[in-house]
Symmetry: C2
Subunit: 487 residues, 2 copies
């Protein structure tokens, strides 16, 4: 079975066209702020990408419109890698980030909604460039491909296969029999959430530009800010609350919002994963607040709660915004955040990480293991809300977990060659693989990734993409069995 | 199904008698070194334990001699906990370790062959006490229960059920149809290995006392030394080599030695786990040696190799001896050791940790996961040496791995309440759960566990026992389903 390279090329070219179109708002922002040089840089990206992309789309005639599983994986992986390459050009051409590797890191961080940055002084960058930087979060958040799914049918391609590789989390319920319809519904909800947050931030006195930047970072669970101090810059309880709520909302399974639209509110709140997600954030918040208050890190219980809920929500949803330098917190609070780095958002949300449902199912395996020690011959299915989980799903989740841990440990080993401290090495890899952004020590919330070598930056950029695409999509490309499927 | 409490009591009492008997050599050592006070302390432990134990064994008349699974788990768990309590009395009575919690920590560390210590000046302790401290390693190494299996048939109890809870690792091949025979064979091999190492160390100029102490620590993969500097005290390449070899031998599946006895040498070396074990130690040694040499930590490649192979073998086998303060090594070398902390020895060895065979099977799950992404409907068994692993075994291993990670993360959270640095918190828990001993930073090879609070010491003591007894044996006691099996 040969890969359908022509069709893959056609889709990639179409993504190029979309990417060029997606740069137009940033060009407009540049013009509004009188950044003519920056606007010209954007134009230098947009025009060739638009025409070359359109030309390739027009000229490429696939002999077959069949997309197999392997084609789907290659499309998703190639699109994200290409988007991170082409999306880096505005940084380069405007000379905002002169090194290609740095620009690639920043763009991969944007599209993968990680939020890690190599910039030492964010505020020195032009407004148009910072807008593009955050806009990649917004594009990446819902997935540039879920975005593209509305386009694919126009190319005469069914998108079913792609969404299987793309969707965060183990399952995607079909919202609607036609995949393009469900993409449109998801997209509308995402847009609605964006508009709502922008309005709420503006009401709180944030200017429109900042409101847009931070909304992109929130609903995409990204975490890039236009300020060196991240959300601490605003120093406003109102802004903290709005962003906390929207981070949490962005980490919820978007399929569930469809239940809300259908007014099935009871079904919404009885979702097993959603409950686990809320409980995890609540417990983490209480634990951290108690620790911060009892160690007198903050004077009042109210202040402790304010900082604990924001940071807990930020790390759990893998956003990565911060309202304080949590790297200076007592060890217990830091450890809670460290554990949250391995949870992540709900499946089918914009959040990264392992995903809540996987964590919950893995925890259930412990009880099954105990039961089997006492009853070795019993066959015990893993159940959630009374329904047995198919053993193939369970084994898929265990494979995912093992691969996640292996990637984490292997990555930490590679990054440890930098000879930074152990915690920097481990947490930088965890923060990139989990699409979180900040870690501890040298990559703490008040620091950045500028100290890493070019090799490490490339390595971590790929880790962001690997994490964002549910590990296997990219890791498969390194497997012999992907290229020799008949073996 | 009620637990057979009377029989459990009888076995526990028998273990008490054995423990009293096991203190006699230490008493003799005390007398030889003219430590009369210490000898009296031992006598104060031995006499009551011997008589009380024998009385309980004699008086307890179980109504049934049937041992169910649950009885077996309770026997194993209670024996190890009781041994760690009663084994602590010589430290207390001799006033060598005045605090009970400290003494319990030291004894649990001994019996679980962990090798973590709360002592700040080991060399200040009496010879008899240090002998007992290391002798607990030797007893624990092979398992005080495998020891006891020769005794159980005399009590009219079949030991089959117990060995299932006791054996390190997922499987124990039956060496012999009669369990008491196989216990005797294992015991003889263990004794032979001990004698051989003592002779080799003495040939190298080590005095008999030190040779015994360090042999107990080696063949039991324990790691307690009579010197503050551990094996670095001897500063002898010969001693390093002997101990390295015996650490590695102690980490080998003891069933395989039976193959050697039968002259099936080819079968021995073709064992999948053994090969993985050797390869892991070899790769780790080369990586560390390369790193140490290229960073000029040591002057010559030979010196780098000398220190890398010892430390790699010590951590992989979960012994914990050191010939240098590896906490001062460059980060990459430390990271290799950190990863080795999660490997451990072979199944059915005296080594702790996750065990090599489990790690290898977990790695195979990644490939299966990849295959299933491409062929979602395929049923793919996990194979080792051409044989399919039963899915129940695979699911047992994944449960184990999930529980291991959860215990590690939960433990790190609890220990982080001490407000030491993150790496101390994580590595102390990893070192105790994996029965290794030293970790990094405050629990590095040149440090000890004296800085921890009483609560943390108790917590870590239990973690040592949990790790030693393959997690489930003790964790089951905290599970409702253990006490309400009919639920």
């Amino acid at each position: 079975m040969v890969l359908n390279y022509k069709l893959i090329l056609k889709v990639d070219a179409a993504i190029g066209v979309l990417l060029a179109a997606a740069m137009i708002p940033s060009l407009i922002v540049s013009l509004l702020y009188n950044e003519i040089d920056v606007a010209i840089s954007f134009a230098h990206c947009i025009v060739p990408m638009l025409f070359l992309g359109a030309f390739v789309v027009y000229k490429t005639k696939p002999t077959s419109s069949t997309l197999r599983m392997r084609d789907g994986f290659l499309i998703v992986a190639s699109c994200w890698i290409l988007a991170s390459i082409f999306g880096a050009f505005p940084f380069l051409l405007s000379n905002s980030i002169p090194s290609f590797i740095d620009a690639f890191f920043e763009t991969a961080s944007g599209f993968s909604t990680t939020g890690a940055s190599i910039l030492t002084d964010i505020e020195a960058l032009p407004k148009g460039i910072l807008f593009w930087r955050s806009f990649t979060h917004w594009l990446g958040g819902m997935g540039i491909l879920v975005f593209a799914i509305a386009l694919l049918p126009a190319l005469g391609i069914g998108g079913q296969r792609i969404i299987r590789a793309e969707t965060p989390g183990p399952t995607l319920d079909k919202l609607s029999p036609k995949i393009s319809d469900s993409a449109r519904i998801l997209y509308s909800m995402y847009l609605g959430m964006t508009v709502l947050e922008v309005i709420l931030l503006c009401i709180g006195g944030v200017n429109l530009y900042d409101a847009l930047i931070h909304t992109f970072g929130t609903v995409g669970t990204g975490g890039l800010s236009s300020y060196n101090n991240s959300i601490a810059h605003f120093d406003s309880i109102y802004v903290d609350i709005v962003i906390t709520i929207f981070m949490i909302l962005a980490g919820v399974n978007f399929n569930l919002y469809y239940l809300l639209l259908q007014r099935k509110i009871k079904d919404f709140f009885s979702d097993y994963e959603l409950r686990g997600y809320f409980i995890i954030i609540a417990i983490a918040t209480v634990l951290i607040a108690w620790n911060l208050w009892s160690t007198k890190t903050y004077d009042t219980i109210g202040e402790s709660l304010r900082y604990s809920v924001f940071q807990a929500a930020s790390i759990t949803t893998t956003t990565g915004y911060s309202t304080t330098n949590f790297d200076l917190w007592p060890t217990f609070s830091k450890m809670v955040l460290f554990l949250l780095m391995f949870v992540g958002g709900c499946s089918s949300s914009t959040g990264g990480g392992v995903k809540v449902i996987r964590v919950l199912i893995l925890l259930k395996l412990i009880r099954r293991g105990m039961y089997r020690k006492l009853h070795p011959r019993a066959v015990v299915p893993v159940k959630i809300q009374g329904k047995s989980i198919p053993s193939a799903t369970v084994s898929g989740i265990t494979s995912f977990a093992v691969l996640y841990v292996c990637l984490l440990l292997f990555g930490s080993l590679i990054i440890s060659l930098e000879n930074f401290d152990m915690l920097t090495s481990i947490s930088s890899v965890a923060a990139c693989l989990g699409n979180i952004g900040p870690g501890f020590e040298l990559v703490g919330p008040s620091a950045n990734y500028s100290a890493f070598s070019d090799f490490s930056k490339m390595f971590l950029s790929f880790y962001m993409l690997i994490g964002r695409l549910e590990l296997f999509t990219i890791m498969l490309l390194f497997a012999k069995l992907f290229w020799n499927p008949d073996r």
